[in-house]
Symmetry: C5
Subunit: 323 residues, 5 copies
């Protein structure tokens, strides 16, 4: 589906609706470029773009099928960039990933969204408000898109951090919960998120160093800034991974300690009840000569002894922290 | 065993059966190359190829014995490539690996399959349907073979992912299963699979960068595409390895928690049965002066007390989650 | 907030109060440079600096918002350095991080503090006492600031080391504490601290090798010295991380051993009380022909047997280390 | 001890016994080289070689004392190679390492064996059967020795793999064995073996790339082949290390699960015996009005109730998998 | 404290006592150099050296304060080397580290010892016995010192290895010890030792490659030899670290298995004592019609049954390995 198609001249958008054929004609003029936005295009929808912009069949295949590794690829006369967008869905504590692909030439930029990738309309509007920036050409568009995608990693990171904080609290609370499953699932999200972001660090660093063409030199510092945020994301995910591994270990200790507490509490009660049972057993013996049995207050005395021992035991266990 | 032998001229297959000696003669003409396919050849079967194509004895030895590490080797006038094919056998959750070896010169390509490696006939047919691509020479054949092998990794990866999902579900289900063995065996498969694929990433990257000869420059982007899939496979296997390590840890916590649940359930029942035993013991004492013993409803009263305490305990334990 | 603004001429501070506009005029003269110190500036406060020193908008954004990754960035005509300061708060065993940003040109240096970052007044005073050093220009200021920040890591490291020592003692003491939570929290601090320092090692090494301009060649050895301390910090944090991982593991063993000790102690007492109960049960049987029951000293004999067995068991368990 | 000393001329061995001084004279003639084999030589035995071949004192020291790290060193006019040989001793599941050192010049090769390193006589015989190969000079000898050493790693690897398979079976068998010790000891062997082989990968790769002199260019492919086997060995050892780490973890789960099984089996029996005890206790009470006590079939009825409850419990536990 | 000060001329020591000022004068003559040895010098003691040899203030600061990371630093006209010496103190199983710093110029070498670093007198004596070696200048002194320091790592390594062997034996012995603390403390020593040695590997490799000046080319092979020993030390420490991590894991399994053994032994005894208690309970019931109670040999028969069952259970448990 073609979502938007616009011609930019010296950073300003040409008014009114623009159709593809029109865009094809105009883009070759100096100072102009076109930006075509697509959402989950079919092969047919892509056919015209493919021949007009001479897109490499492999890149087109990637753009239609999605499910690629994040990457930056140089083709003869264009760059092809694959990005993963991330959104944190809180109730289920899951990171949903979308895919955003960009074709970048000297006078065109094509953006293709797949799945959960959020609309680029706000990015476009913001850019159009800064014609000076836009006049740096398609590279400015790529930067704006990349910047938005990478900025959107931060709320996802924060969502994960909040959940990790919650897990920590649960882990060390007095309660008896076993957050093993939750830790494991967070670990899976962190690993998946890392797989979606870390491979971008190196190619974006190369963009920032101006190793690839098609990008206005004044944009390099901007790409370095994006790269910085990417590295921060990666560092944060690495630290989370280490923390979660540690919390799985700590959880084992917590579970073991709680089991031990239970064993001791149970044992204390067993001891408290075993003593009167033993005493009762003794006075249940059938010896003929057991003077206590004939005492008038033998029975209450025996019960008193039982109660005394039980309460002493109870207090002792209480003091020792077993109860 | 020689499976197929064909001469290609400007990307089109020469009709009719072609025997080896014929192929030897023709290949030197410009725009022509031969593709010879073998399955587990013996040393004798290989002898003629060896002298005709001047294959290096070490490469020939590897091709006959198989069991090599995946690699790309440059010999004076040819490339020698070793690939591992992978197939996921679901009922046993095992990855079976085959081996595929390719000799590549300017005017010949020899493919040798070993073990489980699946037939290359469909690859050949598909290629023959695209003479333009085939006219780029033996490199196009290598790419098609490599592409097929690497594409076939994906179902195996997905098979593993499905099993990991199943294990996760088993792990955190209410049931009492201990998936330690299954996790361990999946870990072994993941490690073996990684060993069969990861060593290819670097040499295929070099193929993509055109570091080796014998490959038409237009093929470089295609090899980069394959390399991308290889890196994706490696990343997926790495993430699986980390996940499985985490799930072994989580399993320990699950086992411990379940044991704790058992200990508490058992203890609760012990407590419930210990109380009437103790009371019965008390009324089994032989004191002469125990007024309750003479009461008419002493016995039912005692039994009632026992039942009351037992049911109170039962309810208490139920509420505390011990039962 | 502008904290201080000074002009240095041949390493000596111009007397009296200096306002910004004055500083702007003077800095271009050879041998002079200005040092402006800010604390959490607003965008408005920064506006004048930005246009005067031609600061890059991305760097300015970082300086105002803080929360950056530690880094050294080269812009056309200046360096931009982000540092994390660390302070160890003992009662809560937490590392609080502040942020310090430095803009460095040939004739100016701007320092911006955020959050917990401690005042640079002492650094400034110390520098002003060594005009020869200061006459090497803004690089000398950067070094002094960096040196202070990195030196301040050491007390934080030592605070962590002390806590790790305490945890170790707790871990292997006879007491029953479970330091899992404390170990985990220290681990989190170590990971966070590492994230705040390790990314600086490479860029500071490049400063030391003179890869960036704006820095007097005589300063290179000084930056290498700082880098050395940074690497030492990183090594120490790495070793701590490994140690804490090990102590989580050792803790598991300690918890398990203590549980085992409890199980044995409990079992011993159960055995000691089960024996008299069984004997009493036997003499509580109602057989008509039980000669012992008629013995005059049957009862005391039975009690004696019980006591003897109990005390033998007690001694046996004591000797075996179960009690 | 000098084991063998031979002069080779155009790849053919000079007949008859050759003594050292003779060898010294002849080696300088074009197309000739000497191969001297030693076993654990003393300093005295080495003295003559040292001065004749101008061996570096540090290399000589290494050759006499052994216990070196595997390495390839370039001295002014010779190469010095240290290899570790490995042999798997099955009953004790131990890898015994020997040491093999090679001095290599343009017209000489000296091999020194230490400890368990097996005789090179078969290597020499095989080489002498292929004069063409031998005529490539001392490099061919080095390759043959290296090839043999590295080929001999494979049986050791297979021995370890067999043991790991056995451990796996033991680990997940129904039996109650605790293979922790065996896993640990295998881990130690794998680590030791890795230490003895992995450091060779890089220097042998350099041999294969022709980075060192003294080696005939036609030998490069042969060294690459050896390097391939070395890398395979390293990959296998790495995978084993990971597998064994995983199996230690899995073992913990197995032990815990088995303990849980025991706890449940024991508890079931305790429950089965506690019920008749409680019932017997109740009918052992001394209330005057207990109608059941007077029933004619009260006793057998009580016993029947006990047996019924016990068998119901037994069946219930059996069905629940506790027994 | 100045420990020794000597002038060497063509490798031979000038006779008699030499004071500093004398040394300063002579060192400039060709073929001469001075070697000054210090032990924990104060700033005052260092002042004269500092100005004479134009030592860099940062290096001097390091030399006086010690506690540096091991390193090799190049200053304009000298090298500055920081080494850690290691000594294993057996009864406490602790590695004590000392520090040794070397300033190296073309005609001087200054060695500074701190803390536990052992005397260099024997190194000096040995060197003076080999004037040819010494005539290669200060580099020969540096090598001799470095060689000694690195050689002294070996006994420390062996001390650790012996302790690890002991721990292994303890770990898998029949005894009940929990070596968790000992393993943990060894781990700490290994990590600390590694931190003190591994950072030297790279700079010493650069010394061996002649990347730094001030060192006679003939010394390069010697430094490579030292580097080899350093790498061996590092490899050994890495393997130890892995082994100790494995043994902590194995220890967990051992502790769990032993606990399981205890639980089973205890349970067996509980069963053995529960059976007679239950039987006694049954014959303690007060039913009027219990024929056994009237049998003449009812009582001994009941006791016999009890004993029989107990001994059968005992034998059964014995055979099953529970007792």
């Amino acid at each position: 589906m073609i979502v938007d198609c616009a011609i930019y001249e010296e950073g300003k958008r040409r008014d009114g609706h623009v159709d593809l054929s029109h865009a094809y004609d105009e883009r070759h003029q100096p100072g102009k470029f076109v930006w075509i936005g697509l959402y989950e295009p079919t092969e047919e929808e892509f056919a015209s773009l493919r021949s007009e912009f001479n897109l490499h069949p492999l890149a087109v295949e990637d753009a239609i099928n999605a499910h690629q590794r994040p990457k930056v690829e140089v083709y003869e006369d264009m760059l092809f960039i694959v990005l993963k967008t991330a959104r944190y869905v809180d109730p289920t504590e899951v990171i949903t990933l979308g895919e955003l692909l960009v074709f970048l030439g000297d006078d065109f930029v094509i953006t293709v969204r797949h799945g959960e990738a959020s609309s680029l309309a706000p990015v476009r509007e913001e850019l159009e408000r800064d014609p000076k920036h836009l006049s740096r050409g398609p590279g400015a568009v790529l930067h704006a898109v990349l910047d938005r995608v990478v900025d959107d990693y931060q709320p996802a990171i924060e969502g994960l951090e909040t959940d990790i904080d919650e897990v920590e609290e649960e882990l060390f609370s007095a309660g008896r919960s076993n957050p093993a499953e939750r830790i494991y699932r967070l670990q899976r999200e962190v690993l998946g998120f890392r797989k979606a972001t870390a491979p971008l660090v190196d190619p974006v660093a190369r963009l920032a160093m101006g190793k690839y063409g098609h990008i206005h030199p004044e944009m390099h510092d901007y790409f370095r800034d994006v790269n910085d945020h990417l590295m921060r994301t990666r560092d944060q995910l690495d630290a989370m991974r280490d923390l979660l591994a540690g919390s799985l270990q700590a959880n084992l200790a917590q579970v073991a300690v709680r089991q031990n507490d239970d064993v001791r509490r149970i044992s204390a009660w067993v001891a408290i009840i075993a003593v009167p049972t033993a005493i009762a057993g003794i006075y249940g013996m059938n010896f003929e000569h057991m003077p206590e049995l004939k005492w008038e207050f033998g029975y209450p005395a025996a019960v008193l002894v039982m109660l005394t021992i039980c309460s002493l035991l109870y207090r002792g266990f209480k003091r020792a922290g077993w109860l």
